[in-house]
């Protein structure tokens, strides 16, 4: 009996301490909030760099505003904004028709997806159709597209990745790709392609360095100009998603205008994406 009483006493004491903590915390929060307004963004992990550069520069200028970013993925970001859980949703794909019913998408930047091969690979150019055939397994040897007599090793990203979704929807190979490796980051893809002479992979243009070779697609090499004028085929939009008909908070509106103004172009390029032509 005494023991039980002791347990109850201890538990209530501990709870008391915990409750005390939370009360203190909440009072602190209420003290700081009046001076600071928050803009919450939520969505595509591919947009991390772009939104990071934009929010950092913005916060430097407006000390009283805090821009938060929650990397959840395009789908989750779109859902979050439609449920009002964040101010601006981030999507690395265009909105679907049913999403357009109550959401508005504004293109903030363009992302080029580079198709990469090992530096030792003699291949320079592939058509979108050839790339699609390679990824669906119809073409399985490099000699069929003018390369060495070697089996092609297909490197891709995991299901539900934004880059994979972008690549597969552009090449019309959705759900048909026969990947040899499904890796979980752009860095892994580049590393794997750079260490395997038979490999082909895809990655955001900005992340690709000299360690691998970017091939031309339909005789167009990926670059800022070819992506802006649309001649390079494998590209996708980075979209800011807002709720149609409902007003943004003044801070969110200000940030939105900043992100879509020409002042943001330089930052977007620094972040490795391509600014839109206005």
């Amino acid at each position: 009996m005494k023991k039980i009483a002791g347990v109850i006493l201890t538990v209530s004491l501990i709870l008391g301490v915990l409750v005390g903590c939370s009360e203190q915390q909440s009072s602190q929060v209420t003290e700081t909030t009046p001076q600071q307004s928050t803009v919450s963004t939520d969505g595509s992990t591919s947009m991390e760099k772009v939104i990071g550069y934009l929010s950092e520069a913005y916060m430097e200028e407006k000390k009283d505003t805090k821009v938060t970013y929650n990397p959840t993925g395009s789908g989750a970001g779109i859902q979050a904004v439609s449920e009002g859980r964040c101010d601006i949703g981030l999507s690395s794909r265009d909105l679907k028709d049913e999403e357009k019913a109550n959401l508005t998408g504004t293109v903030v930047a363009i992302d080029g997806i580079a198709v990469i091969v090992n530096n030792e690979n003699p291949i320079e150019n592939l058509s979108v159709e050839q790339i699609a055939k390679i990824y669906t397994g119809e073409i399985s040897n490099w000699k069929e597209v003018g390369g060495d007599d070697q089996a092609i090793v297909l490197i891709g990203r995991e299901a539900a990745s934004g880059t994979r979704d972008g690549f597969e929807s552009i090449t019309k190979t959705t759900d048909k790709c026969k990947y040899t490796q499904e890796l979980t980051s752009t860095g892994d893809v580049i590393q794997t392609v750079s260490s395997n002479p038979n490999a082909i992979g895809y990655a955001s243009l900005a992340s690709v360095k000299d360690s691998v070779k970017m091939i031309k697609v339909d005789n167009v090499s990926p670059s800022k100009e070819t992506i802006q004028n649309g001649s390079y085929k494998i590209q996708r939009n980075f979209v800011l998603v807002t709720k149609t008909g409902s007003e943004l908070s003044s801070a969110a509106k200000d940030f939105f205008e900043f992100a879509t103004s020409s002042a943001a172009d330089e930052l977007i390029e620094k972040a490795g994406a391509i600014p839109v032509v206005r």
Partner: protein, 289 residues
Amino acid sequence: MRKSRLKVIEKLMNTFFMVCGIAALAFVIIITAFLLVSGIPAIKEICFVKFICGEVWKPTAAEPMYGILPFISTSVFGTLGAIIIGVPIGVLSAIYIAKAAPKKCGTALKSAVELLAGIPSVVYGLVGMIVIVPFVREIFNIPDGANLFSAIIVLSIMILPSVISVSETAIKAVPKEYEEGSLALGATKTETTFKIVVPAAKSGIMTSVVLGIGRAIGEAMAVMMVSGNASNMPKLFGSVRFLTTAVASEMSYSSGLHRDALFSIALVLFIFILIINLILNFGIKEKKR
């Protein structure tokens, strides 16, 4: 006066320790409950047989397929392979450290093993990705080195520390009289080690094997980097995906039933590890008897 104060302190401390003890239990219960609650709905929705025995995993397709047989069999074969390679090496080096090695050499080896145990799994994965994968590709002359075989190599290295240290303790715990008796009867040192000491330490060595299995089946990061990660049925030189990596690689972007199914995979993995722990507990009980 003083006595009663001491008594109160004693009581308070006692209850405090009890709360700490209960915390560990509470975490186990919370995690189990969480896995059951979040894992079962998807299994029900997909249908248990289709989920466990389905050979195709296509969660984002227009007609999603949620079959995890490839992952289950990969985990089983991968662990089996790691045991086949890792256990003989581990047990033999335990015998060497405990019985044959000169004192200095034994200490050095032991601290090396301890260091091996402390290396984070992502480092194993990185070394595997940069050294083992290209090596396997060139040695076997296959297009890609990221496959089940590379994963088995990495896993068998990773289970070495637990196999070696537990086996070594078991071998050292064999009473000296056994050995002396055997040597007095004219058996050589090697005969004594393999016919007397090892059988006497059998249950300890078995414990080390089960621990190794537990380590291998629960490893995610390292195998994710060397196994290729495509959801195929296991082939020694084919790209494969383990139960652990199936959860880890897709969790970040998934949503809806796909996400729930990942929790179900975690539940299956949890049941596997539960079974291994039960085996371990029974093994230890047998030893005590």
